[in-house]
Assembly symmetry: D2
Homo-oligomer: 347 residues x 4
Amino acid sequence: MTKRINVGIVGASGYAGGELLRILADHPQVRITVITSDTYAGQPVASSFPGLARKRLAAFTAYDQSKISQCDLVFLARDSGVAMKVAPQLLNAGVKVIDLSADFRLRDVNTYHQWYGIHHSEPDLCQEAVYGLPELFASRISSARLVANPGCYPTGAILALAPLLSHHLVESKTIIVDAKSGFSGAGRSKFGQDYHFAEVNESTAAYKVAVHRHTPEIEQICSEVAGRELVVSFTPHLIPITRGILSTCYATLLRPHSDEELQQIYSRFYDEAPFVRVVSNLPATKHVAGSNDCHIGLKTDLRTGRVVVISVIDNMVKGAAGQAVQNMNLMYGFGETAGLESGSIFP
Amino acid sequence: MTKRINVGIVGASGYAGGELLRILADHPQVRITVITSDTYAGQPVASSFPGLARKRLAAFTAYDQSKISQCDLVFLARDSGVAMKVAPQLLNAGVKVIDLSADFRLRDVNTYHQWYGIHHSEPDLCQEAVYGLPELFASRISSARLVANPGCYPTGAILALAPLLSHHLVESKTIIVDAKSGFSGAGRSKFGQDYHFAEVNESTAAYKVAVHRHTPEIEQICSEVAGRELVVSFTPHLIPITRGILSTCYATLLRPHSDEELQQIYSRFYDEAPFVRVVSNLPATKHVAGSNDCHIGLKTDLRTGRVVVISVIDNMVKGAAGQAVQNMNLMYGFGETAGLESGSIFP
Amino acid sequence: MTKRINVGIVGASGYAGGELLRILADHPQVRITVITSDTYAGQPVASSFPGLARKRLAAFTAYDQSKISQCDLVFLARDSGVAMKVAPQLLNAGVKVIDLSADFRLRDVNTYHQWYGIHHSEPDLCQEAVYGLPELFASRISSARLVANPGCYPTGAILALAPLLSHHLVESKTIIVDAKSGFSGAGRSKFGQDYHFAEVNESTAAYKVAVHRHTPEIEQICSEVAGRELVVSFTPHLIPITRGILSTCYATLLRPHSDEELQQIYSRFYDEAPFVRVVSNLPATKHVAGSNDCHIGLKTDLRTGRVVVISVIDNMVKGAAGQAVQNMNLMYGFGETAGLESGSIFP
Amino acid sequence: MTKRINVGIVGASGYAGGELLRILADHPQVRITVITSDTYAGQPVASSFPGLARKRLAAFTAYDQSKISQCDLVFLARDSGVAMKVAPQLLNAGVKVIDLSADFRLRDVNTYHQWYGIHHSEPDLCQEAVYGLPELFASRISSARLVANPGCYPTGAILALAPLLSHHLVESKTIIVDAKSGFSGAGRSKFGQDYHFAEVNESTAAYKVAVHRHTPEIEQICSEVAGRELVVSFTPHLIPITRGILSTCYATLLRPHSDEELQQIYSRFYDEAPFVRVVSNLPATKHVAGSNDCHIGLKTDLRTGRVVVISVIDNMVKGAAGQAVQNMNLMYGFGETAGLESGSIFP
């Protein structure tokens, strides 16, 4: 029998929390020991997630610092602004932390304040935190005690753009990311007309055009990969699906390339990445639903000199909980795909 | 390392076939050795199921009797009328067979002919075949060499009704099953306006009212459970979801029962069934999506003397491929839930 | 130029209110003079309904008794419990009232209290109010000053059952109505997880089984049509569509009838009804989307002795605003279809 | 009583044909005299469109040159390649023609051949035909005998871009159109897996990236408006809705403008356009569903120097049949909005 680490999940009754429970309940090297929820404290997990009834999980509890500090690793799945308060205590108690909020994603606390409207209390931890995109930063993640799990949009956009940027193939001022997301990305506690089925079914709209908080995150990592400062136009849309993000990324090529050349560059770039697949046709979000996979397809356009790169992920898995588990696997030397082997649900 | 059995899947490029591939690819006691598809022969599995690309499965091949006969077990996932032709040869070669078509579900070949319009060539096998609903027939399945995997609608309906019938709690002529199904149940090769997204999205309709082929299957098993001949009104509807069947079952109680009494009867009836869960509120198809679970809720109505029992399943899993794997597990003495542990995908 | 009546809409920012605005804005004999909304008072109609921007409608105002009393007719589109407070004043001021809530649908205030939990302050008006189902009560409606506009589920169920009941063709204790509704029926101000797109998309569930408030309304009118007291099993379901109700109605025939015989009975029954169409195949909700039509199909089942009658309506039109306008047309001697001519939106 | 023109619809059983029937059946200055369909010839319109049963329309007939030539105006709603064969005969017979296919949209028959793979037999008519976008070409349309009704994507894209191009506000090489369309745009006779509900529900994908046939149409008109040759990157996506196109258009501003400045420029540009509305927030496709409206919203991005303009239309109305009727209105001097007054269906 493998030795298992003790894991806690804070904010476990939301969508990302539920997805962590689903994945970790079957992870061969994990024991889920603490499951907190302010809303559901004292109730069984099945009260919030009937589909997990079979899993014999412990009940939700209120957040208890002394209990949660006995975990080896804690996943924080709360809104931005919370993690910066609890992470220091956990780290001081020797607990490793993977934060699924935005609190430790941006290295510059001024940028954080500008986009999130919150003064950051832990600038040093922002410097220390490792951005948890394993395809780019695996070795740093391996030795991290604090991992900032990427946002859903940034995951799709960065994976689509990184090979182009790393190889300096595109004009840096021409990058546009037009993203289409399902409604699970909004979170479970977002109520009101904007999420009412009757209002959004059979409809689509963009939102937060030019002001979405994931913009500086995309720019920070893309700039790091490119080796120089970039700005990116990022436009998120909501489409009437539950899960999935498709990111259509545009950039002007510095010199002409065929589709095949670029596909080879992409395939080599992701050669060691078990969850990224470069496809020769165009990817659909359904191809990755329920899995930690990212599929990437691309087409060059000789007429306009642009390349169009399209990535698809399941925003709840590769865009949140699955990637968090992938990070955990790297931090503990487990197989990178442990607990994340299952194929996508189709159709 | 566990010893693995060699398994073949015939008709693997359809929806049920793909679901078998998804589940069996991760099954700890199975090696998939033959994957046939007339349409995709020679092509990789990812050509039909891009989401399975990571699974290192063999390519699709044409049906080859000699090769397929070397399997320990074969899943037949073809249309009705095909299994009766290939099953005899496979059984003669010592291969066990789980047939996902209707060919061996009805014991009476005249009934089969009446509802399916096909003369049955193997009446003896119809007698021998075991109806593969593990919650009712586990011991027979354990020793079967030919299992008739239940239809999707019958699975939901029978699981909802069996405790009532087994305990003789309802008037036998009052049973109505009103079922709502997603479109994956139609199969992958059903084209035409009836399945065109634009025609069926934002719509619902009943179909094959009073003439659906699953009716005699529901009646045969319900009669067996009740110990006398029953007829059932069965009305299937298509609703714009991909996966899931919700069966709303009506029957007049012979004498009054409270919800709690009936829930206890149901809970005891399914005490040993790892995939059936009796819930105290009303079940939703989303609670079981992607899993082999069946959730059952019920309400009595003192005003009308009826009980309304509602079951939900994922038609592709408990209603097809998952149940087939559950049957395989029983036939080989594997754990009943092996390969079927994962919780449902939510939301 | 036709003379136009002055019409007010109270509670105009909800779904039924918006649908009244859409229909009445183009009605040749109506001038919309008052549009009230507590939430949107002072704002243009386009703030709540961007699609009505072209209509040059007045802005939303707060409810003002003196102003609203100058209308010829007022539509009340508020929650139950409100209409009983404002209708008396309006009627006293000589204003005709069509109430879209449940306040005046049930003749017996005890029944109202039992199902709605509200003590009714206007038992006399409950006696006076005419149930606004024009296919059954056109002449009473013509001379009414207070019309209780039917609920969405009762409209579909009663239109499906009335010919059977009127002709005494079925056993009165065998009636079951299994209804499937879109989410617009929940109303616009219903927030929370139960209406969150991510929770209900790709899912279906029953709700309020055996306790839904529309049950006594269905029973009251069905009893009146049948000429004796009936009880009905009524089970509502939500399916992931925005508009539409499909009602699958079951009843045991007293003696055998062919489909054709029953279709003729239905066609004759609705001979003068411009919005009801008896179809020879099975109706789909999409066939009536956006229109005031009701399509009815039926199938008899010799094996079980039952008839299955299926009706479809658009819950926002024939199930609410369209029917209210149809009632207005009768009250003022306009053509019954005035303002309601447009065909359904397809696909 | 107004005098009515006699109108024929060729290819009336498809989605655009059905939408023409729906709109024209209520048009006060039109009599529909010929309704052709190869598939449904001899059958009533309700056989293909149950929702139009109430409209007392003539039956579908086979195409008959002598009969159709007696119309005043004919709408051609067939696939590309057909109109070029029948339009010359109709025009010679003095019939006006509005063609909903692509046959007369591109002035250059070489471009047509390059993108459509068909040799054009009527280059002179391509020169004569007027591009039927009333917001740009109303006066030409008024005197045309042959109108090329715009494609659905071009309608949304051109309306979004025209003010920018007309005022020379953007760099001409920076234009990108990222469009999201519902499935009705695929047409009714497109069968196969690509349109199967189970395959495309809960999914999204791009298609024909950099090679979609609407690209040269967008470029031709945008170039004309801008007064110089443009190329445009155009990427269509299918999202799981039935109706609607949202076009997200990107361009780099030549000099900074505020949102308000650009909104004013847009509002003035469309001052006389009854169906175009410039909105201060972001438009959703649901706001225009079922109507001939186009809503346009925009946001500038100081960080990147780009403007993002978003337009929404109902692809079946403003993107096809509604716009065709708008063109007819101009050709005959009817009110531009005649028959197109109805507000959008919401929710």
